[in-house]
């Protein structure tokens, strides 16, 4: 087990190197340039040239890549081009907010989604099933910024229960977490329903039922356990999407997280800041993937042997 974890973490190194390479190449290929954008319409040609030189932006791509990797290996993420502030400090500012929002949304989505999905599968075609499926359809169909605005209008403007935006207290977290979780709840509920239904019709479940095993045990011991594999896969993917997909939610609710930081960095072509943000993002993603894979092994010994 330990060797597996160590090997996976070592395998993550090339992934991270690849991510940095792709980000840097992408920003290089994109039209637009950090320095001219930053200095704006008013900049003289000379001012642009001097700043580019100062930042070392005129060096060849591979040189800049290796320099960056070397610096990161020594634990230095560099300074953002636009703000001239250590990237680590920028990330430290944004990271807790993102974590808070993602975890809140993920827990909300997983609990609500799995409960609703299992209930739907156990009583298929019941009133609850119909309502839950209808609900998920709505959850999936609404553009996230629109949902967010509607929630603001209802809960902040009309009812005045919750703050409009910003971070700080738990009340600030409610609307963005719900908005962010909505599509995921729907996704997880549907997936859970499909997976559990799938398992419920497998031969071994029928056998268990035929042997007179109680419905609750059948569900708990056989159905859920096997249905969990696809659900976990989805949860792993969702956590990544929640983190990256929080951009719109963060914008609507003025949530000071990583998503907005990355979009800002993309639009400013600040590749140093962007790389730092993506690195953190990628690292977390690798860890989540690892956890998902580890849990496959726990749930299904056949995969564990692989």
């Amino acid at each position: 087990m330990l060797t597996f974890i160590v090997r996976r973490l070592l395998l993550a190194v090339p992934v991270l190197l690849g991510v940095v390479f792709v980000v840097m190449l992408t920003v290089d290929l994109l039209p637009g340039d950090a320095v001219t954008l930053m200095l704006g319409e008013h900049a003289t040609k000379d001012a642009v040239a001097r700043l580019r030189d100062h930042l070392g932006l005129d060096k060849p791509f591979l040189v800049r890549y290796l320099e960056y990797v070397g610096r990161v290996a020594r634990g230095d993420l560099g300074r953002s081009i636009q703000q001239n502030r250590p990237v680590a400090a920028e990330l430290a500012d944004a990271w807790p907010a993102t974590l808070q929002l993602t975890v809140a949304a993920l827990v909300l989505a997983a609990v609500t989604g799995i409960v609703a999905g299992v209930a739907s599968a156990v009583w298929p075609n019941s009133l609850f099933d119909a309502l839950a499926r209808l609900g998920s359809l709505f959850g999936l169909s609404m553009p996230i910024f629109w949902t967010g605005l509607v929630l603001i209008v209802v809960f902040s403007l009309w009812l005045n229960w919750l703050p409009v935006g910003g971070a700080g207290s738990l009340t600030h977290l409610v609307l963005p977490a719900v908005t962010l979780a909505l599509p995921s709840i729907a996704m997880i509920a549907r997936m859970t329903r499909a997976a559990v239904l799938d398992v419920l019709y497998q031969d071994y479940v029928r056998t268990a039922r035929a042997k007179g095993v109680g419905e609750f045990l059948v569900l708990g011991r056989h159905a859920l356990r096997n249905a969990f594999i696809p659900i976990l896969t989805l949860l792993g993917l969702q956590s990544g999407q929640l983190m990256g997909g929080a951009v719109l939610t963060e914008t609507v609710f003025a949530w000071p997280g990583l998503g907005r930081l990355m979009v800002k960095a993309i639009f400013a072509r600040d590749y140093i800041l962007l790389q730092g943000a993506v690195l953190v993002f990628a690292l977390v993603f690798v860890v989540i993937n690892l956890l998902v894979d580890l849990s496959y092994g726990l749930l299904d010994p056949r995969i564990g042997r692989q």
């Binding site: 980000v23 359809l137 910024f145 499909a194 993506v278």
Partner: protein
């Protein structure tokens, strides 16, 4: 009973199919159905409420929202269907290769997929569109590529699980070639899952197109896109809710239709559910 018969007995699925047909018809017959030219502006009639002249109201340029919604179905269909095809085709190929080959091929491919997944998709979409230029087709590709990693992992997961099952093992022992295995055993088993995912992805494709259109990476004016209509209408949500609501509802209906059909197909295609609905 055939799969199609089972599908037709599912009333909701048929409703979904009917909605998709309406969508397809409105896309095909847009010039005849739309009461106005979708690009015709009448600034003084901006944000007109729904009424006799403009059945669904007018937008911030005084353009007829109904006509724009009708024309917008073209973009929605194009982006939705094509991007799903891209995602599924790409994912199917990569996932099967990875799942079957195993070993270092699998390891390398999975790392590649992880790179893609670990990459904020907005940046990826930006890169694709920036490299190829803006327009509906390039937006479609950007949306489609976004779905490839997920499909790949789903397919690979299914292949891995099925590889160990008795019937595939038996077929292998009997000397079946990989393509035959794929066609006879693996594909039929992953189709239901894929169909579910493809319909869900269709929803996301339309929503992602909204986000991209908003960033100026989608269709170009004066082409009508539902996503763009919602995005620009949200600024006036408080004064003229219909500007954003109408295309929002259009999105919802389109997504709903694909979901209903997807669900129906799933029930109809999954042999284990035979006779249960």
């Amino acid at each position: 009973m055939t799969a199609w018969m089972r599908f037709y007995r599912n009333r909701l699925a048929v409703l979904g199919l009917a909605l998709i047909l309406v969508l397809a018809l409105s896309a095909a017959l847009a010039p005849w159905l739309a009461p106005y030219d979708p690009a015709r502006q009448s600034l003084v009639e901006k944000r007109s409420k729904p009424g006799a002249k403009y059945w669904l109201g007018a937008d911030e340029f005084g353009r007829d929202i109904l006509s724009r919604v009708i024309y917008g179905s073209r973009v929605a269909l194009l982006v939705g269907v094509l991007s799903v095809l891209i995602a599924v085709a790409g994912g199917l190929v990569l996932g099967t290769i990875s799942g079957f080959a195993g070993g270092w091929v699998d390891a390398v491919m999975m790392r590649g997929i992880e790179i893609l997944l670990a990459f904020p998709y907005l940046l990826l979409a930006l890169a694709i569109v920036a490299a190829m230029g803006t327009g509906a087709l390039n937006t479609t590709i950007a949306v489609g590529v976004w779905g490839i990693p997920t499909v790949t992992r789903m397919v690979r997961g299914a292949v891995l699980a099925l590889r160990e099952t008795e019937y595939v093992g038996a077929a292998r022992a009997l000397g079946a070639a990989t393509p035959a295995l794929l066609r006879r055993h693996i594909l039929p088993n992953i189709v239901p899952g894929l169909v579910v995912y493809a319909t869900l992805f269709m929803a996301n494709a339309i929503l992602l197109e909204a986000a991209l259109s908003f960033l100026g990476l989608g269709v170009q004016p004066p082409t009508a896109s539902w996503g763009l209509m919602v995005s620009t209408g949200r600024d006036v949500l408080l004064v003229a809710p219909h500007v954003a609501t109408v295309p929002g509802v259009a999105i919802m209906i389109a997504v709903l239709a694909f979901n209903l059909v997807g669900d129906g197909l799933r029930d109809a295609l999954d042999p284990r559910l035979r006779g249960s609905a």
